[in-house]
Symmetry: C2
């Protein structure tokens, strides 16, 4: 009979601030951000990662002092709510429900704030709760890990695991603001410091060759978690992620192509299979290695470049092999990845450092070869370490055995 064409656009903007010691009484980052809301005083519910609370026992007191020092702008709706840190926060809906229930009990409105402090998993769960209570109350993320500061915490996603699938439930919801406090890095265990570096390597590989060069040159400093190097890499990585969201033309991922998911299809499955024992960043490092190996074996990526990628990842401290790879159902992992993204299969591969290409069909046996190569490489690497007891990072990149590059390049699919 007739059709009305509805069409409109929505504008989103939020600041991503970098600071140190955000809760020092004299630090105005949080209050400056809140001033953007225009209201005189803002009601906040602090949602705090149990891991962060344990690693920094004075944090709660500092939050209290900060709020007291800025009581004309800030009001805590309740004492901070401590939620389980790590993947436990996302493994069912219970933490999300606790947060939603508190929003209701405390009479918080859409103009109130949730200030979520923690790793990526806590930010994801708190973000889902914030996005769905009253159809969305304001969220300020304060990411505490390398990975959350340079990737998960600056994006537009949230989510929890459900029905046995990672991030099955969630939505796209830009935050009100992100505050990256570098002091949190001081409280991290080496594993959590390192894990986020893989996302920096990833975004460099698909978007920015110069950034890759700087990471490669600084690999010894990254391996030692040298503060300035870590902070620079976090800022640049965050900036590249933000630029991608703003300029891709598909901020809420309605298409099938997801260049920033390079290395992620294997990573998601590894995390699943290990029930969270393997951290996201660690799984991504393995995923990058496998997708880079595959890119090389299909003739897309030069072997020199592959060498440098594997060297960087390994010398930063990532283990590029895990026994769960051996039995992994690769076709199923691909299918699940495709399902979550939607549409046709589209796997980002590398046709050079800083240059990404979408691939719509993968030769699974070649991936098997890649896994075998990583397993062999790790064995040789371990043997060599035992023999050499070497202190210095090797200049000649001999740590990777030639077996990683064994075989003729296959034609591109």
């Amino acid at each position: 009979m007739t059709t009305i064409e509805q069409s409109f656009s929505a504008c989103y903007s939020f600041p991503v601030c970098f600071t140190r010691d955000a809760f020092a009484p004299s630090n105005s980052t949080l209050t400056d951000v809140l001033r953007r809301a225009g209201e005189r005083s803002c009601r906040l519910l602090v949602v705090l990662d149990s891991g962060v609370a344990q690693a920094d026992p004075a944090l709660l007191e500092r939050i209290g002092s900060h709020v007291e020092a800025h009581r004309d702008r800030l009001e805590l709706a309740a004492a901070p709510l401590i939620v389980r840190g790590g993947e436990a926060c996302k493994n069912n809906g219970s933490e999300v429900e606790r947060i939603q229930a508190m929003v209701g009990q405390l009479g918080m409105c859409r103009h109130s704030f949730i200030l979520a402090i923690g790793g990526g998993a806590v930010l994801d769960a708190a973000g889902f709760a914030a996005a769905t209570a009253h159809r969305g109350i304001r969220l300020i993320r304060m990411p505490s890990t390398t990975l959350a500061q340079n990737d998960a915490g600056v994006g537009v996603k949230n989510g929890i695991n459900a029905f046995g699938r990672k991030n099955f439930l969630g939505c796209f919801a830009p935050p009100f603001a992100v505050i990256n406090d570098f002091n949190f890095l001081q409280t991290l265990a080496p594993r959590d410091l390192r894990a986020g570096i893989s996302e920096a390597v990833k975004v460099a590989l698909v978007r920015d060759a110069a950034f890759f060069e700087s990471l490669y040159a600084a690999r010894a400093k990254l391996a030692a978690f040298e503060a300035g190097t870590m902070e620079n890499s976090i800022m640049r990585c965050a900036k590249l992620h933000l630029e991608h969201i703003a300029t891709s033309g598909d901020p809420f991922e309605s298409g099938s192509s997801r260049p920033l998911d390079f290395g992620h299809w294997v990573a998601h499955k590894l995390e699943d299979l290990s029930s969270g024992e393997i951290r996201h960043g660690e799984a991504v490092a393995i995923g990058i290695a496998l997708d880079a190996l595959y890119s090389c074996r299909t003739g897309l990526l030069g072997s020199e470049d592959l060498h440098r990628i594997l060297t960087l990842l390994q010398q930063v401290g990532f283990n590029l092999y895990h026994r769960l790879l051996d039995d992994m159902d690769l076709p199923r992992a691909l299918r699940e990845f495709q399902e979550h993204l939607g549409g046709e299969l589209s796997i980002p591969l590398l046709k050079g450092i800083g240059e990404q290409v979408e691939c719509h069909e993968l030769a699974v046996p070649l991936y098997r070869e890649g896994i075998a190569a990583l397993a062999a490489g790790t064995r040789k690497s371990r043997k060599r370490e035992t023999m050499d007891e070497q202190e210095e990072l090797p200049d000649d990149e001999t740590r990777h055995s030639g077996s990683l590059l064994h075989g003729e390049p296959c034609p591109a699919p």
Copy 2:
């Protein structure tokens, strides 16, 4: 230290189609809509309101025949999922979870479709499931009631009731398409046919005086649910709602002002208190009457206009009083309404027909007077009906007792 300002916009567009007998084999509305996705064949999960399935027992068969006739474009992922119709669908998360679980089990991806057929409550629950599974799979709404066709079904909201609050959980998520099939109206009980008319009155009152005139002139036909009149009012009401979303500058309601929530603060509380016994549209009719009475008593709205508003609502068949109004905690209802919308209290009132004004403070005793006037008006109206046994609609609008307008207008707040 430094701040990155993130900024981007997202464009949304979707068709709202009006048709008859959408599942007739020759009707191409659904397939035309699906063609916009570009894919060759589309996977659909049909989510069907139990009330619709009962009222139209042949519907399932018609759906099957339609899919068969268009099997090159359409594929059912499974047999239609029948969910509880009415507010029961929204009263807890169980129906939402059933839908989400099926999306997972069936391996549906973000490019798959949920086709939700039903009243506003089912569309709200199915919409929430669709918006959160895989962070959003495509939703086609096929609203079955007057209210869903002219209001709830064409908007950008979804949600369920939780923690004792109406629509406490949900998100903003534009649909992929809306198909308004007027044939569904033939299966509706008078209550459901009538309920949606209040939203047409509402949007006319706040946006379009000429539309109000046409509704007023056609009140006898609306009371008789004359098909052409009903259809025209649905189309115009839907169009006004769509225009508001597209042009308000705040499609996802981040501000405090919500002109289309005229009459809704009392309505939401009434629905709550009656546990869904009072339909949304019926509650909105009462809410409109009370807000119009208040607008008049504060000197904003002329008494002639008030008369016409009340006459239209009552002659269309709405009962403008319910005993639950007597004990209603009005300050609490205002507080809850404010919380859900966020920010400062902002209640839309009328300063004329077609002209709305935001009010930030209400005099509760004046509302009490309005409730008493509605109660008295209803008593007199009943008495008169018993005495007169009149068949014709009164021309002189004497059905409303003078008591509705008793008292001096108060100064505007």
